[in-house]
Amino acid sequence: MGKAQRTKQWDPVQVKEQLLAKYPAKVARKRAKQILINEARENTTPEITANVRTIPGIITMRGCTYAGCKGVILGPTSDIVNLVHGPIGCSFYAWLTRRNQTSASGEHGENFMTYALSTDMQESDIIFGGEKKLAAAIQEAYDLFHPKSIAVFATCPVGLIGDDIHAVARTMKEKFGDCNVFAFSCEGYKGVSQSAGHHIANNQIFRHVVGTGKKQRSEQFRINLLGEYNIGGDGFEIDRILTKCGITNIATFSGNSTYDQFATANQADLSCVMCHRSINYVADMLETKYGIPWIKVNFIGAAATAKSLRKIGDYFQDAELSARIESVVAEELPSVEVQRQQVLPRTTGKTAMLFVGGSRAHHYQELFKELGMKTISAGYEFAHRDDYEGRHVIPGLKVDADSRNIEEIEVQPDPHLYHPRKSPEQLAQLQQDGMAFKEYDGLIADMDERTLVIDDLNQYEAEKLVELLKPDLFCAGIKEKYSIQKLGVPMKQLHSYDSGGPYAGFHGAVNFYREIDRLVNSRVWGYLKAPWQEHPELSATYVWE
């Protein structure tokens, strides 16, 4: 845990005070709990307030539950027809705007990613209810596409007017017989952020799809890769490496995924969790119901990738697999290292700030370490305390009034399909050898002392932080990008990757090194002032002098 380095150029206590100074008293009190100065404490990390309601009018970066459910978790699946029940906007804005890449299986493989389907609710649907229109839309989608599954997503007004989308889905499913129709109550106002949508998506995918697959998976070293969405091809690169190592990824949740992958996920022997926030619910449920243990992995960063591969190797305890992993690492790492050494002189010592969704603000610190860069401030839009402080805080977490209505589903061991992948003795031995199951230490533990960890950063604080701390690079999303760049600070989008990527795995690390070198050393940052602005004095000079 790199707590040794102290960042001394600025005083975090003063920075925090200045961030809060302009707020009305009530807002300042609340924000004070979401802005944390990282400091070492005995056996414990400091406590942050997270996953609480957004302050109205503050210009948050956050989105909604629908975005977390449809946009994030279900959006990337190519062969489920996603039908949005609501007015047109929600469907339109989630149409191809997250870069979940897809290689639909062959010329005849189904791929509905390019289609945005909506019931386009009108005033009359709000007044008289939209259930009939929803049923008709499901029928029309079925007649046109004959998909194996149709997923229905609720938007804000659906819950308010009382449309029973689950009943409609059930009726249509029974009517079709060969098409699994199910629904998500992911109204935008539920919870306080995208996070509630993740949870709702996890529950419904688990309830309606996982474990229903008929296909028997017999490959060796079967894993699920959970919480990897194949942005810019990240998942392709991870799959390339896994395949090379002889590890079979039978289901990715949910980058480049298919319905059948979800349906057979219960047949894996290990779940590997990338994005803890969005998918830890499925990871837990797979363990409880089917006996599949899970470990936290991170394929962002070359060293982290090698470490994660070794973890998987250690779990399977197969000498041949471990040897293959070592040879893959030995083959891939040197060329990554060559590229790293090339950019290192130009990136070392530079500072970065990361404010990204619910996992990347942590994962990408690995890559910045490899570039010799310091992360001086970081935070999430919508992560929970366990993502900041580690899962050990979970038993003490209180669900507040705003998130109380998000369904928790109780899962029991499946009477037929449950079988523990390892005996208690084997598990104990693995743990003794250092393997951490069902564990995640969170972001804070990996950050230097006296850095600032900020939850639900807003526009005002972003600008103020840049003004006070003058980072060499700011990482966040599209809404933040151009205001930060107007200030003359390079900005890297870590949601969309600015149309770049992949950044995962070994190839991804190289792409990222080059990209960050390009950004922080671009000539453009030297052009902000015109010559006459830099030297405004008027005196007669002539070019031939």
Binding site: T54, F92, Y189, Y460, I478, K479, Y482
Partner: protein
Amino acid sequence: MLLKHTPEMISERSALMINPAKTCQPIGAMYAALGIKGCLPHSHGSQGCCAYHRSTLTRHYKEPVAAATSSFTEGASVFGGQANLIQAIDNIFTVYEPDVIAVHTTCLSETIGDDLPQIFDKAIKENKVPAGKTLIGASTPSYAGSHVTGFANMVKAMAALAQPGGEKTGKVNIIPGWVEPADMEEVKRIASLVGVPITLFPDTSGVLNGPLTGVYSMFPEAGASIDDIKASGGAIGTLALGEWCSAEAARLLDSRCKVPCSVLDLPIGLQATDRFVDTLRIIAGQSVPDEIVRERGRLVDLISDMHQYFYGRKVALVGDPDQLIAMTEFLVTIDMVPVHVVTGTPGKKFEKRITDLVAGTDHTVNVRAAGDMFLLHQWIKNEPVDLIIGNSYCKYIARDEDLPLVRWGFPILDRQGHQHFPTVGYIGGLRLLEKILDALLDRQDRDASEASFELVL
């Protein structure tokens, strides 16, 4: 194939919209509000809408788009969002210090029936609105109309600020419609060339095409000022450009402040620009300067020079009604043939207007209001075209059907230029024709055999 599940055979759909040719009201209201000086748009709903609308506008302009939200929770969604909005108003004026907050609503606050004027009253009574600051509001339910309707509703809310019986300003109000910042600049340039003092609202030029200087100002020195908008009640007259976007606001000025209005098409293309300049000249009693006559002549010159490449070429169009009407007329003017025209925005008048515009050609036109891009694609499969003109989503159809594409309209997420170079006026007409020719001639070059590959075209 990217859209491989789209069948050639067309089956009528009653309930399912696929690949919409519209989006929802609030984004239009947000765009319009950004055209008020010192204004922070505010979305009264759950925060996802605001995030989506800001993201889409940002992707289109590659510029910061600031807007706040009431961030409804489930509790507020059931019991009303008054407390959220009042708290937001207080926080916004304290932290961000805009001169104006322009509030629009979403399907959430509209369904539960929040009453903006009543909440504004309460905010003022509770001293949450500092002296000299303004609150304006527009009801923008997402389940009616489209983004175009939302734009029109916010512009109407601006017009409602105009004070009747005020001083005569000698100015002409121009409501430019949903056009790009560069288009707003071009409208101002034309008016200034003709010598007509105008009040343009909204005006996003200088707001959404700003410079990179090392300084970020959430409220740049640009946009229509509240004082000017208030004084618009004393104008000589109002030109409303675009029936869908601007007419209601102009009619409100007419009925409330007795400012007579003309509703014109967007000045896109030769004839619509002619009508715009002519009306402006007459209303202000000015003669048209040679500079504008020269610009017009250059456009006519280009049409004549390259007519062989335009003549008889079939075009599929998708976008917003005001734009499509003007573009259809322009294409007919240069002897191109609009064969499929789709807007997602409802309005029966649209279909009649397009049908009338192409009536003089030998082709019939497929036209649909409240249609979608799935239908457009099917029409193209049934009757192929030489060119598609529409927003970035058209690139999927263009690639599948191997068609040249001119990006035009909203949103353009994958190319640059629309925020900097106008498509209105004669100069804008030149740019549109350049883009159309580039697309057609690039395709001719790509497809020509080596023997027929030409240097001079």
